[in-house]
């Protein structure tokens, strides 16, 4: 492994960054019900020390995980959602979501370096209305991908979403086509696109930009699929076998490239980007663009 890559370092960086985020002294693991000591949980990157359940991370924690020395130049942080359909209750939901998450919307993106390679990083926040994709998320994802295409940089998108945001109706559906097209633009520019699937990534997001990465990496045990198993069981009045719609299920069916424990996530992404970028003098990219 080239010495530039140093997972240990990254984890320390993560730990440091995460230590800054205050949490309750004790937390119960939703999976194995063990009581976990907050600090210990932090040190373990918020992964249950008993059953390896991966707790959700905030966008700040995700950024700290991937960006060298937690240096992240966020773009369009002020972009605000509106209520294009004048959908009942949506405006209040937005306000509550902003309070709860301390963010304007469910997605953030910006410039980072990972393993010293300038890249675009985008991270979803499930905390904001289930990370659902409305106009703002769709626009930001698209801009992140277009930025990668323009600046000839790799793009890393960390996904967590219940799908399209129905409160924006058809406009949210159209974000699927918009972001999928932007993925194609990034490819046409010859660039690398890495998707990190976290719990949960489903429906309109998994059926658009989240499925179109050159490499798809999932955290263990994440819920990943088109319709969630509960939805299917309710609609079709059937019982599904256990373990469907998980990272492991998707890997077994050829839909994702790897499952990476959170401890290895940064180093895996860093290696992939390093290995996929070093070989290629960017002059070449033009050649590929013409080709498309």
């Amino acid at each position: 492994m080239p010495e530039a890559i140093n997972p240990k370092k990254s984890d320390e960086a993560n730990a440091r960054a995460m230590a800054e985020i205050p949490v309750g002294l004790w937390q119960k693991c939703p999976k194995c019900r063990t009581m976990l000591y907050g600090k210990e949980l932090e040190r373990n990157l918020r992964v249950c020390t008993h059953c390896q359940y991966h707790f959700p991370l905030s966008s700040a924690e995700r950024i700290a995980m991937f960006a060298d020395d937690n240096k992240f130049a966020e773009i369009d942080a002020d972009m605000q959602p509106c209520n294009p359909l004048d959908f009942p209750g949506y405006s209040d939901k937005l306000t509550r979501g902003q309070k709860k998450s301390g963010q304007n919307e469910a997605f953030r993106y910006g410039d980072m370096e990972i393993n010293k390679i300038p890249s675009v990083l985008g991270v979803a926040s499930f905390a904001f209305m289930g990370g659902s994709m409305g106009s703002v998320v769709g626009e930001k994802v698209t801009r992140a991908l277009e930025r990668g295409a323009e600046l000839k940089r790799p793009v890393v998108l960390v996904c967590a979403s219940g799908g399209a945001r129905m409160h924006e109706g058809i406009i949210s559906l159209m974000q699927m086509a918009k972001t999928a097209a932007a993925c194609e633009k990034l490819k046409a520019a010859g660039q690398v696109y890495i998707v990190v699937l976290t719990d949960p990534t489903t429906a309109g997001v998994f059926a658009s930009f989240a499925s179109l990465g050159d490499v798809l990496i999932a955290e263990p045990g994440a819920l990943i699929g088109f319709a969630g198993p509960r939805v299917i069981e309710q609609n079709l009045k059937i019982k599904l076998p256990p373990g469907t719609h998980t990272s492991e299920f998707q890997l077994a069916h050829g839909m994702i490239d790897l499952i990476a424990h959170r401890r290895d996530l940064r180093s895996t992404v860093a290696q992939l980007i390093t290995y996929l970028t070093d070989a290629r003098p960017e002059a070449e990219a033009v050649g590929i663009v013409d080709k498309e």
Partner: protein, 323 residues
């Protein structure tokens, strides 16, 4: 005389008049007493009422119309629009999805790649067509044929009519999400004209998967939505999580052709004959064909690169936010 086997709730008044007219006609026939004057006036009344009702349909009324079992489906329209149509099958990977039909059609003496969702009429065909819910194979068949269309410079014509993409476990196992995403991505860079018409139900991702066109049009009474109104009502507190309140959700979701046009989601509403497409399929087909040819004419002025850029820009614009 308008006639249809199945009546929708809002058609009740029409049903009554039609029944009265029928009675009068029988009376005339059996008793030989001429009531034609009365019949004539009732016919006028019927026409006027029909006019009124169908010009004031709610989002929910349109949802029901869009799902009407007698509404023409893709193959019905191809029968009426195409001089000839050769259906092609298979994704070359796993199977052939009967919920998406695709092939080379001749419209106005010109070859086009035609792709559309297909629902079934009777119980058996409904099963065979999987109720118009496409599986991964359907989108992969579409992609294969779109690439052929691009190589041969054939315009791509898509007809949308699906409740939603198939979500069952088998579809999940074979990557329904990847299939929809990849098909949208491919369409976004196609170097030939793509024209999309929503003829019935425009059901979320399953519809959009083959709906990334330079022009997207909707039949007057079709709907295009991110989620079925009932489904939306069933999960949102706003509607008391009550699936039976679909009509309210339908209104809130703004799913009608007019709504979609107003929001800039579609480029044109194709009017339907009074009473809906299923009452006058041929008239409807003529209007669809005219719309396709008209839009195609505009697109043919563009170079392959311009076509791709035009399509990309069309979807790139969509979205409302503040900066």
């Amino acid at each position: 005389m308008i006639s249809t086997s199945r009546w929708l709730p809002f058609e009740k008044p029409l049903q009554e008049i039609e029944e009265q007219i029928t009675q009068l006609e029988e009376y005339t026939a059996t008793h030989g007493i001429d009531r034609s004057e009365k019949i004539g006036s009732m016919r006028k009344k019927h026409a006027k009422l029909c006019e009124q009702i169908f010009s004031n349909l709610s989002a929910w009324d349109n949802t029901l119309l869009a799902r009407h079992p007698n509404r023409p489906y893709t193959l019905d329209y191809l029968e009426m629009i195409c001089d000839d149509f050769i259906e092609l099958h298979g994704d070359r990977r796993f199977g052939d999805d009967a919920a998406i039909v695709a092939g080379i059609g001749r419209i106005d003496g010109r070859s086009m790649m035609i792709i559309g969702h297909q629902k079934g009429r009777d119980v058996k065909e409904r099963q065979f067509r999987n109720f118009g819910s496409a599986r991964p194979e359907g989108y992969r068949k579409a992609m294969r044929l779109m690439e052929l269309a691009e190589r041969r410079n054939l315009p791509i014509i898509c007809f949308i009519d699906t409740p939603a993409a198939e979500a069952r476990l088998e579809a999940e196992e074979r990557g329904i999400s990847e299939a929809i995403a990849a098909c949208m991505a491919l369409m976004s860079r196609m170097r030939v004209p793509i024209i999309v018409t929503v003829i019935g139900e425009g059901g979320s991702g399953g519809a959009l998967g083959i709906a990334v066109g330079n022009y997207v049009t909707m039949l007057e009474h079709s709907v295009y939505s991110v989620i079925p109104p009932e489904g939306c009502a069933a999960i949102l507190d706003t509607f008391g999580r009550d699936g039976s309140r679909g009509s309210e959700a339908a209104a809130a979701l703004k799913i009608t052709a007019q709504d979609n046009l107003a929001m800039g989601i579609i480029d044109e509403v194709i009017p339907e004959p009074v009473g809906g497409a299923h009452r006058k399929p041929n008239e409807t087909a003529v209007l669809i064909k005219a719309s396709i040819l008209r839009n195609l004419k505009k697109l043919q002025k563009m170079s392959p690169e311009e076509l791709a850029e035009h399509r990309y820009a069309r979807f790139r614009r969509i979205g409302q936010f503040q900066e």
